[in-house]
Protein backbone atom coordinates (compact mmCIF):
# COMPACT_ATOMS: atom_id res chain seq x y z
CA UNK A 1 0.00 0.00 0.00
CA UNK A 2 1.07 3.58 -0.67
CA UNK A 3 -0.11 6.16 1.87
CA UNK A 4 -0.98 9.39 0.12
CA UNK A 5 -1.03 12.58 2.20
CA UNK A 6 -2.80 15.77 1.16
CA UNK A 7 -2.67 19.05 3.05
CA UNK A 8 -4.44 22.40 3.23
CA UNK A 9 -5.89 23.50 -0.09
CA UNK A 10 -5.22 20.17 -1.82
CA UNK A 11 -6.95 18.21 0.97
CA UNK A 12 -9.89 20.61 0.91
CA UNK A 13 -10.37 20.19 -2.84
CA UNK A 14 -9.98 16.40 -2.62
CA UNK A 15 -12.35 16.19 0.34
CA UNK A 16 -9.83 14.07 2.25
CA UNK A 17 -6.36 14.36 3.78
CA UNK A 18 -5.33 10.73 3.23
CA UNK A 19 -5.73 8.15 0.49
CA UNK A 20 -4.55 4.56 0.26
CA UNK A 21 -3.30 3.33 -3.10
CA UNK A 22 -2.49 -0.28 -3.92
CA UNK A 23 1.18 -0.75 -4.79
CA UNK A 24 2.18 -2.63 -7.91
CA UNK A 25 5.56 -3.53 -9.28
CA UNK A 26 7.19 -0.73 -11.26
CA UNK A 27 4.78 1.96 -10.08
CA UNK A 28 6.30 5.43 -10.55
CA UNK A 29 5.47 8.73 -8.91
CA UNK A 30 4.16 10.02 -12.23
CA UNK A 31 1.78 7.08 -12.65
CA UNK A 32 0.45 7.51 -9.12
CA UNK A 33 -0.01 11.21 -9.73
CA UNK A 34 -1.78 10.67 -13.06
CA UNK A 35 -4.19 8.14 -11.61
CA UNK A 36 -5.04 10.26 -8.59
CA UNK A 37 -5.34 13.38 -10.73
CA UNK A 38 -7.91 11.60 -12.90
CA UNK A 39 -10.11 10.94 -9.86
CA UNK A 40 -9.38 14.27 -8.08
CA UNK A 41 -8.77 16.76 -10.92
CA UNK A 42 -9.49 19.94 -8.94
CA UNK A 43 -7.10 18.97 -6.16
CA UNK A 44 -4.25 18.03 -8.47
CA UNK A 45 -4.65 21.21 -10.52
CA UNK A 46 -2.81 23.08 -7.73
CA UNK A 47 -0.21 20.42 -6.86
CA UNK A 48 3.30 21.65 -7.50
CA UNK A 49 5.51 19.73 -5.04
CA UNK A 50 5.75 16.04 -4.29
CA UNK A 51 7.55 14.33 -1.43
CA UNK A 52 8.28 10.67 -0.79
CA UNK A 53 8.86 9.70 2.84
CA UNK A 54 9.31 13.37 3.75
CA UNK A 55 11.88 14.22 1.07
CA UNK A 56 10.96 16.44 -1.85
CA UNK A 57 11.29 14.54 -5.14
CA UNK A 58 11.65 16.26 -8.50
CA UNK A 59 12.11 13.18 -10.68
CA UNK A 60 8.55 12.09 -11.38
CA UNK A 61 9.83 8.82 -12.86
CA UNK A 62 11.08 7.71 -9.43
CA UNK A 63 9.87 4.21 -8.60
CA UNK A 64 7.73 3.81 -5.51
CA UNK A 65 8.15 1.05 -2.93
CA UNK A 66 5.38 -0.69 -1.06
CA UNK A 67 4.78 1.23 2.17
CA UNK A 68 6.01 4.60 0.87
CA UNK A 69 4.38 7.78 2.14
CA UNK A 70 3.74 10.19 -0.73
CA UNK A 71 2.63 13.80 -0.28
CA UNK A 72 1.18 15.93 -3.08
CA UNK A 73 1.42 19.56 -2.07
CA UNK A 74 0.32 23.00 -3.23
CA UNK A 75 2.76 25.87 -3.23
CA UNK A 76 3.71 26.69 0.34
CA UNK A 77 2.24 29.76 2.04
CA UNK A 78 3.68 29.71 5.55
CA UNK A 79 5.51 32.53 7.28
Amino acid sequence: MISVLLFGPVAERAGTATLQFGHRSGLTLQQLRDELAASHPQAFEIVCFTAVNGEQIRDQQSPLADGDEVAFMAKFSGG
Partner: protein
Protein backbone atom coordinates in the same frame (compact mmCIF):
# COMPACT_ATOMS: atom_id res chain seq x y z
CA UNK B 1 13.35 26.03 36.34
CA UNK B 2 12.20 25.28 32.78
CA UNK B 3 14.83 23.99 30.38
CA UNK B 4 15.65 25.82 27.17
CA UNK B 5 13.23 24.89 24.42
CA UNK B 6 14.42 23.47 21.10
CA UNK B 7 15.88 26.06 18.72
CA UNK B 8 13.53 24.94 15.92
CA UNK B 9 9.87 24.30 16.71
CA UNK B 10 6.39 24.05 15.22
CA UNK B 11 3.73 24.59 17.85
CA UNK B 12 0.14 25.66 18.39
CA UNK B 13 0.78 27.78 21.46
CA UNK B 14 2.04 31.33 21.34
CA UNK B 15 5.73 32.06 21.95
CA UNK B 16 7.63 34.72 23.85
CA UNK B 17 10.18 36.75 21.91
CA UNK B 18 11.95 37.57 25.18
CA UNK B 19 12.28 33.90 26.03
CA UNK B 20 13.60 33.04 22.57
CA UNK B 21 16.15 35.86 22.63
CA UNK B 22 17.24 34.89 26.14
CA UNK B 23 17.81 31.32 24.93
CA UNK B 24 19.75 32.57 21.90
CA UNK B 25 21.96 34.83 24.01
CA UNK B 26 22.70 32.09 26.49
CA UNK B 27 24.48 30.08 23.79
CA UNK B 28 27.45 32.46 23.49
CA UNK B 29 28.90 35.62 25.02
CA UNK B 30 30.66 36.39 21.75
CA UNK B 31 27.34 37.43 20.26
CA UNK B 32 27.52 41.12 19.35
CA UNK B 33 24.43 41.33 17.16
CA UNK B 34 21.02 39.68 17.13
CA UNK B 35 18.55 40.28 14.31
CA UNK B 36 14.96 39.08 14.63
CA UNK B 37 11.93 38.77 12.39
CA UNK B 38 8.41 38.51 13.75
CA UNK B 39 5.62 37.61 11.34
CA UNK B 40 2.14 38.66 12.47
CA UNK B 41 -1.41 37.96 11.28
CA UNK B 42 -2.76 40.97 9.36
CA UNK B 43 -6.42 41.91 9.59
CA UNK B 44 -6.75 42.45 5.85
CA UNK B 45 -5.65 40.84 2.61
CA UNK B 46 -6.27 42.15 -0.89
CA UNK B 47 -8.90 44.62 0.37
CA UNK B 48 -10.76 41.98 2.38
CA UNK B 49 -11.09 41.98 6.14
CA UNK B 50 -9.42 38.95 7.70
CA UNK B 51 -10.53 37.90 11.16
CA UNK B 52 -8.11 35.03 11.68
CA UNK B 53 -5.65 32.76 9.93
CA UNK B 54 -5.35 28.99 10.00
CA UNK B 55 -2.03 27.23 9.45
CA UNK B 56 -1.50 23.59 8.58
CA UNK B 57 1.87 21.87 8.18
CA UNK B 58 3.26 18.59 6.93
CA UNK B 59 4.73 18.38 10.42
CA UNK B 60 7.64 15.95 10.11
CA UNK B 61 8.85 17.34 6.78
CA UNK B 62 8.39 20.96 7.85
CA UNK B 63 10.39 20.47 11.02
CA UNK B 64 13.18 18.64 9.18
CA UNK B 65 13.32 21.39 6.54
CA UNK B 66 13.39 24.14 9.20
CA UNK B 67 16.28 22.38 10.96
CA UNK B 68 18.13 22.06 7.64
CA UNK B 69 17.49 25.73 6.95
CA UNK B 70 18.90 26.72 10.35
CA UNK B 71 22.00 24.55 9.81
CA UNK B 72 22.55 26.09 6.39
CA UNK B 73 22.18 29.61 7.78
CA UNK B 74 24.65 28.87 10.60
CA UNK B 75 27.28 27.76 8.09
CA UNK B 76 26.55 30.23 5.31
CA UNK B 77 26.56 33.34 7.54
CA UNK B 78 28.88 32.10 10.30
CA UNK B 79 26.21 32.50 12.96
CA UNK B 80 26.79 31.67 16.60
CA UNK B 81 23.18 30.54 17.00
CA UNK B 82 19.76 30.80 15.37
CA UNK B 83 16.17 30.02 16.28
CA UNK B 84 13.03 29.43 14.20
CA UNK B 85 9.55 29.03 15.70
CA UNK B 86 6.38 28.70 13.57
CA UNK B 87 2.87 28.36 14.90
CA UNK B 88 0.12 26.24 13.38
CA UNK B 89 -3.61 26.12 14.05
CA UNK B 90 -5.79 29.19 14.43
CA UNK B 91 -4.21 32.61 14.92
CA UNK B 92 -6.41 35.65 15.48
CA UNK B 93 -5.67 38.87 13.57
CA UNK B 94 -2.81 40.64 15.31
CA UNK B 95 -1.36 37.40 16.67
CA UNK B 96 2.17 36.12 16.25
CA UNK B 97 2.87 33.58 13.49
CA UNK B 98 6.58 33.09 13.10
CA UNK B 99 9.74 34.15 14.91
CA UNK B 100 13.25 34.01 13.54
CA UNK B 101 16.41 35.09 15.34
CA UNK B 102 20.00 35.11 14.12
CA UNK B 103 22.93 35.78 16.45
CA UNK B 104 26.39 36.62 15.16
CA UNK B 105 29.54 38.41 16.28
CA UNK B 106 28.52 41.45 14.25
CA UNK B 107 25.25 42.90 12.96
CA UNK B 108 25.85 42.38 9.22
CA UNK B 109 25.66 38.58 9.14
CA UNK B 110 22.83 38.64 11.70
CA UNK B 111 20.65 40.90 9.49
CA UNK B 112 21.53 38.98 6.31
CA UNK B 113 20.86 35.57 7.87
CA UNK B 114 17.55 36.65 9.37
CA UNK B 115 16.29 37.91 6.01
CA UNK B 116 17.59 34.80 4.24
CA UNK B 117 15.90 32.43 6.70
CA UNK B 118 12.42 33.93 6.41
CA UNK B 119 12.69 34.14 2.61
CA UNK B 120 13.82 30.50 2.40
CA UNK B 121 11.19 29.35 4.90
CA UNK B 122 8.44 30.74 2.70
CA UNK B 123 9.82 28.89 -0.32
CA UNK B 124 10.86 25.60 1.24
CA UNK B 125 8.82 24.71 4.31
CA UNK B 126 5.54 22.80 3.77
CA UNK B 127 3.11 25.02 5.66
CA UNK B 128 -0.16 26.39 4.27
CA UNK B 129 -2.21 29.41 5.31
CA UNK B 130 -5.96 29.85 5.26
CA UNK B 131 -7.58 33.27 5.60
CA UNK B 132 -10.88 33.45 7.43
CA UNK B 133 -12.97 36.50 6.57
CA UNK B 134 -16.63 37.47 7.01
CA UNK B 135 -17.08 36.35 3.37
CA UNK B 136 -15.77 32.85 4.13
CA UNK B 137 -12.56 30.83 4.29
CA UNK B 138 -9.94 30.71 1.56
CA UNK B 139 -6.59 28.91 1.40
CA UNK B 140 -3.82 31.12 0.17
CA UNK B 141 -2.72 29.35 -2.99
CA UNK B 142 0.01 31.13 -4.90
CA UNK B 143 -0.11 30.04 -8.53
CA UNK B 144 1.98 26.92 -9.20
Amino acid sequence: MDGIKDAVRIQQEDFSQDEEIRALKSSSQRMGGIATFLGCARDFSEDRAVTRLGFEAYGSMALAEMNRLRDEAMTRFGLLDARIVHRIGTIEAGGQIVFIAAGAEHRGPAFDACRWMIDELKQRVPIWKKEVSPQGDAWVTPHP
